[in-house]
């Protein structure tokens, strides 16, 4: 979408500034998650410290963008598409910040695992794969936000089940390990936390994609599938 034309040029540039900041924040979160998964496989201590340290930058972004959003609402009283953009972005920011927290959690768990005795359960490949999937999804969701492309966003929402499936797979394998050898239980539990964090990242990505659809089309697609199941009828949505 080319920047909308308002009488006030400043208004346009305020809106664009907010959007580009969210995407910069997204880029940072993406790097954080990638680094966190890297830490889990390599056990690199310096890298872990770096991820934990960068976490404050993610939080700073959240505070700053929220502040910008409130200022625009107060000063310009946005309506229609502009209002949806502001609302959608301020929700997406929350999701991004939570993803940053999940990345930090992964690093913490990886630290515990490597501190004790390194990886004894060869499950890192699966975790890595599901992590790469989640990061790729996040990247696509951010692209969809930059291009305001609701079709892409719809696709991303549909593909979240893949990450969920991956999580269940990892869980099943870990259970087998734990039953065979009780000594692996503590490590396996920590790997479960990591896998769960990745699965949560996938859910947050889905939320961002839903916000993209809301911004462009003005339709709320959250919890639609649940409604469908409950009432057994198609939920008509204008687009």
């Amino acid at each position: 979408m080319p920047p909308s034309e308002h009488l006030s040029k400043q208004y346009d540039s305020d809106l664009e500034d907010i959007r580009s900041r969210v995407l910069q924040m997204g880029g940072l979160v993406e790097a954080q998650i990638l680094a966190a998964i890297e830490c889990f496989t390599s056990g690199d201590h310096d890298r872990m410290a770096q991820v934990s340290e960068n976490e404050f930058r993610v939080n700073a972004y959240e505070v700053e963008i929220d502040d910008l959003c409130i200022h625009v609402v107060a000063k310009r009283q946005p309506t229609a598409g502009d209002l949806r953009l502001i609302m959608g972005i301020s929700k997406a920011v929350t999701d991004l910040e939570r993803m940053g927290d999940e990345a930090e959690k992964i690093v913490r768990m990886a630290g515990h695992i490597h501190e004790r005795r390194g990886l004894q359960i060869p499950r890192s490949a699966e975790v890595r794969r599901s992590g790469d999937m989640a990061v790729a999804q996040l990247r696509r969701a951010l692209d969809a936000m930059a291009r305001l492309d609701p079709d892409e966003a719809e696709q991303i929402i549909g593909e979240d089940v893949l990450i969920d499936g991956e999580f269940r797979n990892i869980l099943r394998q870990l259970i087998t390990f734990m039953m065979e050898d009780p000594r692996t239980i503590s490590t396996a539990l920590e790997i479960t936390w990591i896998a769960k964090a990745i699965e949560r990242i996938g859910d947050h990505v889905k939320n961002i994609a839903e916000q993209v659809i809301y911004i462009v089309r003005g339709t709320d697609v959250r919890h639609i599938s649940k409604e469908l199941k409950r009432f057994g009828g198609p939920a008509e949505q204008d687009s």
Partner: protein
């Protein structure tokens, strides 16, 4: 002043004269009336022309240039000429522009033009592919929104020459682009993306090579240095021990010599600017020679036999000698005592095939593609203890490349390997039947 203008003046003069005559004859009132009437008529005619001009200018085209009298004709023609010049100039500029945009499109580097606020104005197809942009759709978007590298924003903000950024596209592992930002015109910026995957890979290879060579030379040097230190510091060395130590040292020195020799051979083969010597020779003699060398290396631990056809081969005998004997010495090294090694030279489908078959330890399949890399070792400890330099197969590969020949390796772990050098038919003279 053109004739059209004289005609206009003449017409006015005629009107004036007519009015003066009428005035003289019928009185001043009639004179003025005639003058006004004539002038009105002229005005009406000119107004008509003006209207035609205006109508034509709305859609000027060469077919319908109004045919007008007097000075009006000149005006129409002048305007038409200007329009045509303009159209030609525009065509020329468009053609030039087309050439430029084609050239930019043909560039092997990715190009993205940004405006003052970093919105994408244009990008070529290479850039689309490198950076994952979507051509038309992404025009007008902020480039930093699409490529969310924190360092890219810095790079663009600085936009000075000599600064670049390594970009690894997330969806293609191993590919590396170097992105530069250059300021041009008024506030415009140009992003250039080069594919540096290859040079990056070469750089890694070079680093590995230097590290490997240093390591290979260091190992024997450490041994020698240790013994020398011992001999120097020992006040009364036992002559028996010293002799043993000197023996080991001489072994290590010859190992280093072998390594340096192999390195020199390899570098000569790689930088060979001279044409290949094209002797035509009987491969049988060469195979017998090599087999004799092999037997002395094996010292009776293996049975080495030859099965050869009387076919001639064109190529450098010296280089092939070193390639073939490298293949055989590998077979001797990696075949347990009592094993069997067979050398073949035969013509198959017109192609010359030299092969070394052994009943050795074999090579697992995953190692096969990397076997000819310098210093690549399947089993680090084992190959060094058997005295290899890690360069043998690299030399073989290079020699064969210079002979347009291919190397095939079949191997079953535990059962043995066959190394085959296959020469193109034009290098081979098959045995006369």
């Amino acid at each position: 002043m053109g004739s059209a203008w004289s005609a206009l003046l003449l017409r006015l003069a005629v009107v004036g004269l007519l009015a003066a005559l009428t005035g003289a004859w019928f009185g001043a009132g009639a004179g003025w009336a005639t003058a006004s009437l004539a002038l009105l008529l002229l005005l009406a005619l000119h107004t008509h022309q003006l209207w035609r001009l205006q109508r034509w200018l709305k859609r000027p085209d060469s077919q319908s240039v109004p045919d007008a009298w007097g000075a009006w004709g000149d005006v129409f023609f002048e305007i038409y000429r200007l329009l045509r010049q303009e159209a030609k100039a525009r065509e020329r500029i468009l053609a030039d522009l087309e050439v430029f945009s084609q050239a930019a499109e043909a560039s092997p580097d990715g190009l993205v033009i940004l405006d003052a606020d970093d919105h994408i104005l244009w990008c070529n197809r290479v850039a689309e592919q490198q950076l994952g942009l979507r051509g038309e759709r992404d025009i007008g978007l902020l480039v930093t929104n699409l490529i969310r590298l924190p360092r890219l924003a810095e790079l663009i903000a600085r936009s000075s020459e000599g600064q670049s950024l390594q970009y690894r596209p997330p969806d293609r592992k191993g590919t590396v682009y170097s992105i530069e930002a250059i300021r041009f015109g008024k506030d415009r910026k140009l992003l250039i993306g080069f594919d540096v995957t290859q040079s990056e890979r070469v750089e890694t290879l070079r680093r590995d090579f230097v590290a490997n060579v240093s390591h290979e030379l260091r190992t024997p040097l450490t041994v020698i240095a240790g013994f020398i230190e011992h001999i120097v510091t020992e006040p009364e060395p036992d002559p028996e021990d010293t002799r043993d130590q000197l023996g080991i040292m001489s072994e290590q020195v010859s190992r280093m010599l072998r390594l340096v020799d192999d390195l020199l051979t390899l570098s000569r083969l790689e930088s060979e600017t001279q044409a290949l010597r094209e002797d035509e020779f009987d491969v049988r003699d060469l195979v017998y020679e090599i087999a004799a060398d092999g037997r002395s290396l094996s010292a009776g631990r293996h049975s080495i036999t030859c099965e050869v056809q009387p076919a001639l081969l064109k190529g450098s005998r010296d280089e092939l000698h070193s390639a073939f004997s490298n293949l055989l010495s590998n077979a001797v090294r990696y075949t347990p005592d009592g094993g069997r090694i067979v050398l073949y030279w035969e013509v198959k489908d017109g192609k010359g095939v030299f092969s070394v078959e052994d009943s050795g330890i074999g090579i697992a399949e995953e190692h096969l593609p990397r076997l000819t890399e310098r210093f690549y070792r399947v089993d680090r400890g084992r190959s060094r203890e058997s005295g290899g330099t890690g360069l043998g197969l690299s030399i073989v590969k290079h020699v064969l490349l210079r002979h347009q020949a291919g190397l095939e390796i079949d191997s079953v772990p535990g059962a043995g390997s066959t190394f085959r050098a296959i020469f193109p038919s034009w290098r081979v003279t098959p045995p006369q039947a």
